[in-house]
């Protein structure tokens, strides 16, 4: 029983790391631009499909590195052409726009790559289980965990120690002042959007090794990401990270005892947080 529990806690951490990776990207965009990016799951799927297409040419490692950048580039284009026009307008419109975008991406990937689930080859030394004696754990899962941790660490390094990161953090607090101080806010929002989408693309490349590849692969990850943001608190990136890990572990542990409630437990957590602390665990007061 302890082993089973331990196994599920670890599994929950992996799933939670994915939620957190998605949610961090969403949160970056939401904090600076006030846009809920419904198409985030779609960008995740694009990340997976681009990697799938690249593997025969550049190999597993090449695809792992290149695909998120390609997706980020697509994200930057989308922001320039579409989303930029909606800043400062009612959030209703950006929601509807990204909603339509999500439809188009899902249908587009289905049109290009087909509706059937595609297999994704990971190197065999990573796919092999580390130990069959204690509990089942492939090297790939450990590898994913390390990579997600590295990505998150990289994100916080960028935010805390580069000029871009400083401006993003400042813009989250008061965009107008940042603009008055001579920062080009249009470019800042554009790069920030790209950074958020990069994380979605990275999550996509990693997720398909575990979840397989179909056009709706992002659908199951986007709602938990919303919950991670709400639980962690709007406006706080560390909160989002912790929120993601928390709901992942909670749903992992619940699946040991009540498998059918593993989804529901996330929503219960969200309800409890909203009752006790409507701004979320690490949210700033008065932001919304």
């Amino acid at each position: 029983m302890t082993q089973l529990l331990l196994f599920n806690v670890f599994n929950g951490l992996i799933i939670g790391a994915f939620y957190a990776l998605m949610a961090l990207g969403l949160s970056l965009i939401l904090n600076l631009s006030g846009v809920i990016n419904f198409a985030h799951g779609g960008f995740l799927a694009i990340g997976g499909y681009v990697a799938y297409t690249l593997v025969p040419y550049v190999g597993f490692w090449g695809a792992l590195i290149a695909s998120p950048f390609i997706v980020a580039f697509i994200g930057i284009l989308v922001e320039r052409v579409l989303i930029r026009r909606l800043y400062g307008r009612d959030p209703l419109y950006s929601l509807l726009l990204t909603f339509g975008l999500a439809f188009m991406i899902e249908d587009g990937t289905r049109f290009i790559w087909g509706a059937q689930s595609l297999p994704y080859q990971i190197p065999s030394w990573l796919a092999a289980p580390l130990s069959t004696e204690y509990f089942f754990l492939t090297g790939y899962r450990v590898f994913m965990m390390i990579l997600v941790a590295a990505a998150v660490a990289g994100l916080f390094l960028i935010l805390n120690h580069t000029r871009l990161g400083l401006r993003i953090r400042a813009g989250t607090l008061d965009l107008e002042t940042v603009s008055v101080l001579g920062v080009n806010v249009r470019v800042l929002r554009n790069l920030n959007f790209g950074l958020g989408i990069y994380l979605a693309g990275l999550a996509g490349v990693l997720a398909i090794g575990m979840l397989g590849l179909q056009p709706t692969v992002g659908d199951n990850l986007i709602m938990p990401s919303f919950i991670a943001i709400i639980v962690g608190g709007l406006g706080s990136l560390p909160g989002t990270l912790i929120g993601g890990l928390m709901i992942g572990v909670a749903s992992g542990v619940t699946s040991v005892y009540f498998p059918s409630a593993s989804e529901a437990v996330m929503y219960v957590m969200m309800a409890v947080v909203l009752i006790v602390r409507p701004r979320g665990l690490f949210g700033e007061e008065g932001r919304f």
Partner: protein
């Protein structure tokens, strides 16, 4: 002059609705599509009560729509075969769920409110999806039909006569529309408008804003669950897709497309959206792309909606 226009508009809408079965086939359509439009129009108008008249963005109305539908379907299938009872149970289920969720979210505003309504909406989707023994899971609740209305002195066969069902839907729609119009004209409705226009000022005037938003939310969900019950009766079937978030998005786009600031806007939006969807999905497999593109185009070029543009033209 504008007053006259408004009354003429009302008369035109009712005349078109009542004469539906006579002119729909003449323009190459069919009565069932008419019922479809009216049901969705009711849902979109209910959403607009909150969105257009209270200024609160909900992206999770499909949940209460679906709860109404499931309540009706399961009552008729398992409990007692009666259409009015099914509607009653469906509406109670949807409204009570909304009343319970309400206090959790009314303190939030803007995108945060929208995000929480989406997330809470998905709870019911997962329940419907995973509770196989009761809801049939992915397959939905089938193998039941709506029951002809028994008025005591006469029977109305809404089951086999599509025209009778159309008028039944229009009658329910009329009662709901009248109730919403009445509420919006009452001091309560005016208070909601005040909150929409300037929440801070409304608060300073001593209006309990959160309670008003909660009431508006529950009223809106009440009417959307009425639409849900009609939806289940219309299809004699219900599956979890009726409570998914893309359904909520459809309601919002209908309200926006028709014009959020107008009472009849969502009706026009629903008609345009459904006719277009009907047309596109019968011509291409990639209808999802076109619907998505449609969303994008409306947001970029048409954010005021049909009635918003007409009204702007009239005043300028």
């Amino acid at each position: 002059m504008p007053k006259f226009d408004k009354r003429a508009g009302d008369i035109l809408v009712w005349a078109l609705l009542l004469a539906g079965p006579y002119w729909l086939p003449a323009v190459g359509s069919y009565v069932e599509l008419g019922s479809h439009v009216v049901v969705y129009a009711l849902a979109a108008m209910a959403l607009n009560f909150l969105l257009g008249y209270t200024g609160v963005l909900s992206f999770g109305h499909a949940a209460y729509f679906g709860l109404g539908a499931y309540g009706t379907a399961m009552t008729i299938k398992y409990l007692y075969p009666s259409t009015p009872l099914g509607i009653l149970v469906g509406v109670v289920v949807g409204t009570v769920a909304a009343a319970i969720i309400g206090p959790l979210i009314v303190r939030l505003r803007g995108v945060y409110f929208a995000m929480c309504t989406i997330a809470f909406g998905q709870v019911f989707y997962f329940i419907a999806f995973q509770w196989r023994s009761a809801t049939g899971g992915d397959d939905g609740v089938s193998a039941w039909t709506r029951v002809p209305l028994d008025l005591g002195f006469t029977k109305i066969d809404i089951l086999n006569n599509p025209q009778a069902f159309y008028y039944f839907v229009v009658a329910v729609f009329a009662v709901c529309a009248a109730a919403m119009a009445f509420l919006l004209r009452s001091p309560f409705g005016r208070t909601l408008l005040a909150i929409r226009e300037n929440e801070r000022r409304a608060r300073f005037l001593g209006i309990p804003v959160d309670r008003h938003i909660w009431m508006s939310w529950v009223i809106s969900c009440f009417f959307v669950s009425v639409a849900g019950t009609l939806f289940a009766l219309m299809n004699n079937f219900i599956d979890p897709r009726a409570l998914r978030w893309d359904q909520s998005g459809d309601f919002v786009i209908m309200a926006v497309l028709g014009g959020m600031r107008s009472f009849w806007g969502p009706l026009i939006g629903s008609a345009i959206f459904l006719v277009l969807q009907d047309y596109i999905s019968s011509h291409t497999e990639n209808w999802m792309s076109f619907i998505g593109l449609f969303f994008v185009l409306i947001v970029l070029f048409f954010p005021r909606g049909v009635l918003g543009i007409i009204r702007r033209k009239a005043t300028s």
